[in-house]
């Protein structure tokens, strides 16, 4: 909402500097986004907390001046020379303004023309340039005539885009007066939140300013028209009062359609609307001033449609398939939720949004029927959205206008039409008001204010603060009964109404004036969030293991996610949760796999880093059993590794490519860190992985995830650079299950006091025997004294025969209570060797 300062000042006196005023308006909930200066002095940079634009007019160099005669240019037909007095002396000023041609060469003017005059050195906008380009007036010779100053257009002064001719000032302005004192203004643009619908008008803003500055509000006169009498020019029938609580109509006869007064046009332009003609301008002016959208019909066209019968206005819902051509020339197909203004011959306008083309006011119009009505905001919003039609009217009507404003807007506008377009206002107002507004009366007490705000405000002061916003107040003891004024719809009944009033009291009192006090109520039950604690532990462990956390978009496409699966394997056939209105197809599906997200991350980073190590924790989304219900959100952990084991520096390092066992080191580090016992890795298969390099990870008998080297075809699905030859390792876990399995506590063992005995044993065994089984047997045989078994070498070669491997272990024996004897250890060793041979035919390697 844009509001020229001069217009606001009609309703409230303002003596604050603009920066301070803007601050107060912002603090009261109407954020000032921009202040555009039109001539007035601009504040120092940084002192006004909003965007500052516009032009300041130099008080010496830009002044009012009078033209006493317009002379022809000796060498150019399209230029004139004005005999101009600037309050000090006379000048001959060159101009090409077409609106001076009618005065050219007719001798001294009977009545001088008052204009805006810019002297040499003045800074103005270049009228001929595209957009706003600053220029400083310098002496020049144009077609042999000296020129050093200028008579200005609105564009040159930054008032509007108008550059068709020069601007005229009122006749009573004195030559030499600084122009800033005549026309200087500022347009304040505020961002109105939905609860501030009442402020979508100059009066609404002025009311708030009056309340927060403590100045009186000067209400406009809205009872001048129409003359008393019974309206006989039309009848009104409202078929659905909930969609159209009130409809008023007035009539002005014998208007002369033409341009509005200059000052009216200027204000409309400062607000941001075009000036059209005095009738349309009157409806717009009244709407901007009071917030009530109005619509003018050509009454003679209505009479013609009525074909001799009296004019009858009917408001009703559109019929299925009904069409209307609106003022903008577009034929629109209507939905049944759209409300129409009709007569007995058919539709006239889309109620509260835009008028129809057929009955619009034109230059030939002489009799005008004026509509002032209010409509259901939900319906208007729905219709405006459906047609993508954001008009000034729909902006206001979709936020709610009080029915009392329909009558006020109507009466005010009738007077504007009479004053600006001549004609007589017909007596009486046609007024159908089937659903009168109920203005809530709410009782709010000192205790309520104390309970919500934490401060004590006496009832008398509460009443005074509310009265500034035109609430009708009655004080009794510590309680105030406040009745909502009939220009707003945002105050409710009951306890919500109390909260509404407390907010209004706080706003006018000033949020700044409410002190800060720390909470003093009882602490709530301390439940904590154990799942989050464990999830953060997972993150910490993976970071400690050298992985980078990623967080991805939750959306993807089935095609993109299918890349994580080998084309030969079973595909993901689970239905996707789809976004109904995605920004793009690529953002249209909620992901099924966090692994797919992390593979995308790895793919993107493979071009910039030689080592990739990522993990992500987040939800996947699966359609639930009820396809129309909420989807299941399941938490997953995905890990991706690939490329160099260590970063490359200038010294030799292990820069070999990571393989399955690097991944297993990470996974094992994680699971150990989570104190999960009974972890098993079973050779398995999965559509993402190389069939020989894939493991199912189990805790007890529960599978928590799958890990492995990506199937070469899966790796090929991703756009890894050709230089990235290393395998890609990946794992995905059911994090919900994993976290559920994490024990709440774990136990430690004492640090041994007696020295360990350490010895190495290597066994030659069949290739098929898994390391897990071999180690399990050694541990089982060694019993409690065998504290640790560590595989430190694997050997394959001719010496030990084909199909065989040698596994070398470092065994650590410790007794908690004594130093072990050599004989004890040797007995143990022999037992292990014997069982390995007996169970697995594994031979001790010599």
């Amino acid at each position: 909402m844009k509001a020229p300062l001069s217009w606001i000042k009609e309703f409230v006196d303002i003596d604050l500097p603009l920066a301070e005023l803007a601050h107060l308006i912002t603090m009261a909930g109407m954020e000032v986004e921009e202040v555009k200066f039109i001539g007035l002095p601009m504040p120092a940079p940084g002192t006004l907390d909003a965007k500052v634009t516009g032009l300041e007019w130099d008080r010496e160099k830009i002044v009012a001046a009078s033209i006493s005669e317009v002379l022809p240019h000796p060498n150019a037909d399209r230029l004139t020379l004005c005999k101009l007095f600037d309050g000090e002396r006379e000048h001959l000023v060159l101009t090409g303004a077409p609106n001076l041609f009618e005065f050219k060469g007719i001798g001294p003017l009977a009545k001088p023309l008052m204009v805006a005059y810019a002297k040499e050195g003045a800074q103005i906008y270049d009228g001929h340039a595209e957009g706003l380009v600053l220029t400083t007036l310098k002496p020049a010779k144009i077609r042999g005539v000296d020129s050093y100053s200028m008579v200005c257009s609105e564009k040159e002064l930054g008032i509007s885009e108008e550059h068709e001719g020069i601007m005229f000032l009122a006749d009573d302005v004195k030559a030499g007066t600084p122009l800033a004192d005549v026309l200087g203004d500022a347009v304040i643009e505020v961002n109105l939140l939905p609860s501030f619908a009442r402020c979508a008008s100059i009066l609404g803003l002025a009311r708030e300013i009056a309340a927060i500055t403590g100045k009186p509000l000067k209400l406009p006169k809205w009872d001048e028209q129409p003359p008393a009498g019974k309206a006989d020019f039309c009848t009104i029938e409202i078929t659905e009062p909930k969609n159209n609580p009130r409809f008023t109509a007035g009539l002005v006869r014998n208007v002369k359609v033409g341009p509005s007064p200059e000052w009216v046009q200027r204000r409309l332009k400062m607000y941001g609307m075009r000036a059209i003609n005095n009738i349309v301008d009157a409806t717009n002016y009244a709407m901007i001033e009071l917030g009530e959208p109005l619509h003018a019909f050509d009454y003679d066209k209505l009479l013609k449609r009525a074909a001799g019968k009296p004019v009858k206005i009917i408001t009703r819902a559109a019929k299925a398939g009904e069409k209307i051509t609106t003022l903008d020339g577009i034929e629109r197909k209507l939905d049944p939720f759209t409300t129409l203004v009709c007569d007995e011959a058919g539709s006239l306008s889309m109620a509260g949004i835009m008028g129809g083309l057929e009955t619009e006011v034109t230059e030939d119009t002489t009799n005008v029927l004026l509509e002032g009505a209010v409509w259901n905001m939900i319906n208007i919003r729905k219709t405006a959205k459906a047609h993508n039609l954001n008009s000034e009217a729909s902006y206001r009507m979709s936020r709610g206008v009080h029915p009392a404003m329909a009558e006020r807007g109507q009466r005010r506008c009738l007077e504007f039409m009479r004053a600006w377009a001549g004609g007589e206002v017909a007596p009486g107002l046609a007024d159908a008001y089937p659903l009168p507004a109920i203005d809530p009366a709410v009782e709010v007490t000192e205790k309520d204010v104390k309970r919500w705000l934490g401060i004590e405000i006496p009832a008398l002061q509460m009443a005074e603060l509310l009265a500034r916003l035109e609430f009708k107040v009655e004080v009794s003891g510590t309680s105030v009964k406040a009745t909502c004024p009939d220009h707003r719809l945002d105050i409710n009944e009951g306890v919500v109404g109390k909260a509404d009033l407390v907010e209004e009291i706080a706003r006018v009192y000033g949020y700044d004036n409410i002190p800060e006090m720390r909470m003093a109520d009882t602490l709530p039950p301390q439940i904590g969030n154990p799942v989050l604690v464990k999830e953060e532990r997972v993150r910490d462990l993976l970071v400690a293991l050298g992985l980078q956390e990623a967080i991805s978009y939750r959306w993807s496409t089935p095609e993109r996610e299918a890349k994580r699966l080998s084309p030969d394997a079973e595909q993901d056939n689970k239905p996707y949760v789809k976004i109904a209105n995605p920004l793009a197809y690529e953002k249209g599906f909620l992901r099924h796999s966090v692994l797919a997200s992390v593979l995308d991350v790895a793919e993107r980073n493979a071009r910039i880093r030689e080592r990739l190590a990522f993990f992500e924790i987040g939800p996947i989304f699966l359609a639930g059993e009820d396809p129309g219900g909420l989807p299941d959100e399941l938490k997953r952990l995905a890990v991706v590794l690939g490329g160099a084991r260590s970063a490359v520096g200038w010294q030799a390092a292990d820069t070999g490519a990571m393989d399955f066992y690097d991944l297993k080191g990470v996974v094992n580090g994680l699971l150990q860190g989570l104190r999960l016992n009974d972890v098993k890795y079973e050779s398995g298969e999965h559509p993402s992985y190389h069939p020989g390099k894939c493991a199912h990870v189990l805790v007890g008998d529960k599978q928590i995830g799958v890990m492995g080297e990506l199937h070469p075809k899966v790796k090929g699905n991703y756009d890894f650079p050709t230089t990235f030859k290393a395998p890609v390792l990946a794992a995905e876990f059911d994090l919900d299950l994993l976290i559920e399995l994490v024990p709440p506590l774990y136990q430690t063992v004492d640090v041994p006091v007696f020295p360990p005995v350490i010895e190495d044993l290597a066994f030659i065994m069949d290739e098929e025997l898994t390391a897990e089984k071999a180690e399990a047997l050694i541990r089982q045989t060694g019993g409690k004294l065998l504290a640790d078994v560590k595989l430190f070498d694997i050997f394959r070669g001719e010496q030990i025969g084909a199909g065989k491997k040698s596994l070398a272990y470092k065994l650590t024996y410790i007794a908690p209570d004594r130093t072990l004897e050599a004989a004890e250890v040797s007995t143990m060793r022999n037992k292990i060797i014997k069982r390995m041979e007996h169970e697995f035919k594994a031979k001790l390697r010599g």
Binding site: M517, L583, G628
Partner: protein, 356 residues
Amino acid sequence: MAEENVLQELEDALVNGLEELKSIANEETLLAWRYKYLGKNAVSKHAFQNINKLPTDLRQLVGQTANRVRVELESALAERSESIKESALAASIASEKLDVTLPGRPLTPGRLHPDTQMLRELYRVFGEMGFQVYRSREVETDEYNFQLLNFPVGHPARDMQDTYFVEAGERGDNPIVMRTHTSPGQVRSMREYAATNPENPPAIRLVLPGMCYRYEQTDARHETQFDQIEGIAVGEGITFSNLKATLSDLARRLFGQNVRTRFRASYFPFTEPSAEFDVECFLCGGKGCAVCGGGWLEIGGCGMVNPNVLRNGGYDPERYSGFAFGLGPQRIAMLRYGINDIRYFWENDLRFLEQF
């Protein structure tokens, strides 16, 4: 062998030994010297070995002399050896000079995503103020995302939060949506707490973190997926001045002890009174800069929980009151670390992530 000769040989060995020792400068020569003067063929050793062949009266003198010679040579050796070691160490130290400006061995530490780091800091600060973490789902019903939060169907306040809808068949006025804010968690948590004691629901102090979604075009300042952390306190006697104190405390913890805060009137359907929460720009000290404009940074929205929302959560608004606020962890990180584009967060480019 004449006995004088033995004594003379011993004295000569001492003089020669000491003399030779003076010029020795390394361990090898020293070892040879030791072999020569203190080894098994050394004069002093011989003297001892052959002492029985000497006349009885001389044995004592030769023995004593041989002993003195050996002791003196040994002590001279020890001294010499120490000084050779010293100079060798000094020489080695002098020769071992590193270029300390060469890069260190590159390690590859893991890192948390900056958003996680920011959230953890917020959890910690809020945790110290008694706020526990409560998380709820990202795909929601219209009812939880809007209606229970006092956004009626068709209400213009919905225009403030452009919404992604999820395809779910005909559900009338209760479609499935991607949550537009973390606020559905307000009603979910209140209902969960109230269910534990419906007659006297316990007080609540929670933070609700999580991913939110708005249907809008992205640019450097706007993301269609972003995260939020919301706080809610409900109890008997929670006031707007408590809200101000809590958020000002938070601002001091996050941005510095001297930072000023301000509360501007605003509108959110689920709070009343509502406010925007601004912090004095910590980049320019409130003087006004390219980031803040007029000296203040918008940090979040807040207000007293609307009575309808309390009621929807199972808390009697005549008895309980509460406040709620919402912040953007990404926005805070962007302000703090000079991040110029919000889209960096979920793009996961290591050149961004490695900076945290």
